[in-house]
Amino acid sequence: MAHPAHAEHPAHPRRNYVKIWAILAGLLAVSVTGPMVGIRVVTLIAAFGVALVKAYLVAKNFMHLDIEKPIVGWLLGLALMLMVLLYSGVAPDVQKSAGLRWSKSDKFHYVSPQLQKAEKGQPEHERGANH
């Protein structure tokens, strides 16, 4: 028996799901072979740019977010904004060993030796500008 709540829900438009799956599989091949080129920018685009496209295709076509009520999009967007807030609030403490008016203590904080080395290579004004 069809459920009443299901019955009142409008039917989803016909989509060629197999074709969408084939595009997703093709994008997966790009994300695997892209890094083989050995160029950092290509690797980043192939890995994360393609991941964004794949996630968009799944959300739009499989989860039917494009025809869902707008409130759902707002809710999901709010949760994603919390991620951005978390990153912007905490990232400097994690990713840097020193800022304009602060520096991590070797006795208390762990600072990656490679990061310290990389930051020492930067001019003083650039290090401060990062914060």
Binding site: V50, A51, M63, L75, Y87
Partner: protein
């Protein structure tokens, strides 16, 4: 036997069937959980360039195969939803069983992968990267397992043409699990 239903499943608050709205709420909280882990991993990875050497030991091909498995299982989940919409419960159930098979394949590959890594000494305590690797992939695998179990229950009722709206609900959850893996794959297997 009473045919009464709980009010929550027959109500349609905000124009969205309550069951589906509840799934979306679950996913909002899941975004915060997985998002917290992923964002935390990204900032630590940028703060620890030496993790690249540890990440080099993950098996890209196993990760890619598992991505394909999850994408394919998402296809069967949405085809199950399509069948449920047209009132074909038995077909929807078959599609859900196929999706479940995809989930089990994913977990089997993960088990082999982890066994090899642990044998090589890359345990949870082997370093910062491995802590994140096992925490993020482990939490994701737990969600795959939960999805498979729920899907078996939904398929059992769909087979009898009952509660077909649940096929869509479990499908939405499954696609989300797929999306999480779409981001975990490049972070843990490709960025080396």
């Amino acid at each position: 036997m009473s045919s009464a239903r709980t009010i929550a499943t027959t109500r349609s608050a905000m124009g969205i069937p309550t069951g589906r709205l509840a799934v979306w709420w679950v996913l909002v909280s899941e975004i915060v959980i997985f998002g917290g882990i992923l964002v935390s991993y990204v900032m630590h990875r940028l703060g620890h360039p030496e993790w690249a050497a540890e990440a080099a030991h993950t098996n890209t091909w196993a990760g890619a195969f598992n991505t394909l498995v999850l994408l394919t299982s998402s296809l069967s989940a949405v085809l199950g939803h399509q069948a449920a919409e047209s009132g074909n419960g038995p077909k929807a159930a078959r599609m859900l069983y196929l999706t479940c098979l995809g989930g089990l394949t994913f977990l089997t590959v993960k088990a082999f992968e982890w066994t090899n890594e642990i044998r090589e000494g890359f345990t949870l305590q082997a370093g910062g990267f491995w802590s994140y690797y096992y925490a993020a992939a482990g939490l994701h695998a737990f969600h795959v397992l939960c999805g498979c179990i729920i899907m078996l229950f939904v398929a059992a009722s769909a087979k009898k043409n009952q509660d077909l709206h649940r096929v869509e609900n479990i499908g939405i959850y499954w696609h989300f699990v797929d999306i999480v893996w779409i981001f975990l794959f490049p972070l843990l297997y490709i960025a080396k």
